[in-house]
Subunit: 393 residues, 2 copies
């Protein structure tokens, strides 16, 4: 099967003529720095509050475009604006990073988890390379250390649950992989807490393989007991196919970098398993949550179609196809690409809607909020452009 | 317009022949006490974990049925089972109540807010009356005091947000009204912290009227600044029409008890305003969230149709009609009744589905979870039976 219909040119055009201009025009905050992401369908501002995640994610995206696509000054300036906003406004007195702040940078919310730190780390690493900024390298390493500390040190953050039923999630492990990959890409294989980025990645993947991937059940779990056993309760059974497929491509990306057949196999096994569980045979698109045993899921939005799992699946299927040449991956890529661009993209105002009903109709038309901004969609377009254009992404 | 189609007999039959037997048969935990609420479409258990809210809500419902409908021993036994489970397993060492526990009663999760306490208070009050249990009266008063303490004392619970933008929600005030109403109903107008239940209700309603109800905008706000001003950000603009309509009927119930025309007017104004904002003209049913200015709402499930707002609207419209004899309330009652029973009820296995897509199709078919159990639906059936049957509900 040919991939020609959705080749590199398509992705690059969408990236450079639609999505990147949308965020620079509507989201970049020329008064206070960083990005405002709560934008309505036409790009007008719905809320000026800022997501700390998106100062990191946006900073990473624009520095990476500068580093890898074209040395445009406005991209570098946007990235530096995010980095400066992060440094000035997003760290609490104790060094942990906030989750949201006002437009001016006053703190609004601190959360338990440390994904603000991981996204700041990749922003600073890419900015360090783009701007030749040594201080940004130090900031990247400091943020990655903080992410590791808060994510993996028992007791480092307030417990969400009582000790009765200990559990661990896949999130910090998979974000750990991509964070270490980005540090290595931009800073070299630096050593953090006595381990190189590559060693950190090895550790994260080993734990995912051992405790979260269940070959006999054909599933990548989202939550397990500390020893990897299944927690047979609503939350323990809840699967997130898009998240798992994102994890699959992080592993495939690593496999490609290393030429590692065993890692390729693992990534493809996860993709196969979670595509089978996640793809909606009736309406198309990927379900948000599924139950391990096919039972009802408690989360209200469980059958909605969100933009980001589709971005991750477009990357994962393209990568699996390029690495294995197996026809089913080309077919899946075409399938998820077509469904996504048919349903999420907005031909009138550009960018993508974020939230569709199960049947593909738009649930609400905003282009961004605290969880959607210049990241998943442009990252997918950038990655697929490079991958299918033959550049080593 | 006649209310005859959906009169008292209809509600009583649904209550006594469908909903009450469904929960006694499938949810009551004969081994460990209390209710399991995570039940699949056919009543089979999806998860044995127990909601502390529903031990209180279920205890209240069954004691209230015993007190007001029929002195059936199995209803009293179910209520007492909930009360005993609450006493034995649901209080943390510091006296605050958990949010969820295992089937056996081991603690799973503590949350900031104190609605476990309010629901335990109404359970113990109704059990005190049903069983002539003086200790349960003390438990009710203790739980109400705890609810007041954690809900209204600055600093009593960990802050969710930084102090940058203080806010308050309507939830504790409206739950305060119904909790004090239930204590008064079952224990008499007892004094708690120096105020009678009636005085507590006066205070809660006064704050709602002053700070949350905006007559010029025709809205009951869900969240405002401490001085009642509007917070013009996504969360501050988010309205919950079902919640507001529930608040309307708590106020109408109080107005009816007192024969208070000003309270009747307030309740009807809130109902009018939030019906206009909440009713989906295109698909029918009540939206879950709306934006104050009609902008997109951030919460993913914003346009879904949940069972409980429809229960509240069925009560509110019936009460407004009975109190004012205005034809529009009869029409709205018929409208929300018809839509709800057409879309939520399950003719095969009984009870109601909880979660529908905007267009009324079932999103997931479970009959209960941590948030849905023997409360909103049986309370609505019970209340409407008494109201339309002429009993002073």
């Amino acid at each position: 099967m040919s991939m020609s219909v959705v080749g590199s040119v398509f992705y690059r055009k969408a990236l450079l003529e639609d999505v990147v201009p949308f965020w620079l025009r509507n989201g970049l905050d020329k008064s206070h720095g960083g990005f405002i992401t709560a934008l309505d369908r036409d790009g007008s501002v719905l809320d000026t509050d800022k997501s700390v995640w998106f100062q990191g994610r946006g900073g990473w995206m624009f520095a990476t475009l500068y580093n890898t696509v074209d040395a445009r000054e406005e991209w570098l300036a946007a990235a530096i604006s995010c980095g400066d906003f992060l440094r000035t406004h997003c760290f609490a007195p104790d060094g942990k990073m906030y989750f949201s702040v006002t437009r001016e940078g006053l703190p609004l919310r601190m959360r338990r988890y440390a994904f603000s730190e991981s996204f700041a780390a990749i922003a600073f690493a890419a900015i360090a390379r783009a701007a030749g900024d040594e201080a940004a390298k130090d900031d990247a390493l400091r943020c990655f250390r903080a992410f590791i500390h808060y994510s993996f040190t028992p007791g480092a953050t307030p417990a969400k649950y009582e000790p009765t039923r200990p559990a661990k999630g896949i999130g910090p492990l998979m974000i750990g992989i991509v964070t270490a990959q980005e540090l290595r890409e931009n800073l070299g294989d630096v050593v953090v807490n006595g381990r190189s980025c590559t060693e950190w990645i090895d550790g994260f993947i080993a734990e995912i393989r051992q405790d979260f991937f269940k070959e006999d059940l054909a599933v990548l779990m989202e939550t397990v007991a500390p020893d990897g056993s299944i927690i047979d309760h609503l939350e323990g059974r809840t699967l997130n196919p898009g998240h798992a497929i994102e994890c699959a491509w992080f592993i495939l990306h690593e496999a490609k970098q290393r030429g590692d057949a065993a890692l390729t196999q693992l990534g493809c096994q996860i993709l196969d398993a979670m595509w089978a569980r996640g793809w909606d045979q009736e309406c198309g698109g990927l379900f948000y949550f599924r139950d391990l045993y096919g039972k009802p899921v408690q989360e209200y939005w469980q059958d909605m179609k969100f933009w980001w799992p589709h971005c991750e699946a477009i990357i994962a299927t393209a990568l699996a196809w390029k690495m294995t040449a197996e026809a089913r991956y080309a077919a899946w890529h075409q399938q998820v690409h077509d469904w996504s661009f048919q349903h999420f993209s907005d031909p009138v105002h550009g960018e993508w809607y974020g939230y569709l009903h199960r049947d593909g109709r738009v649930s609400q038309p905003a282009k961004g909020n605290l969880f959607k901004g210049p990241f998943h969609l442009p990252r997918m377009l950038w990655y697929c452009d490079r991958l299918l254009g033959g550049v080593d992404a």
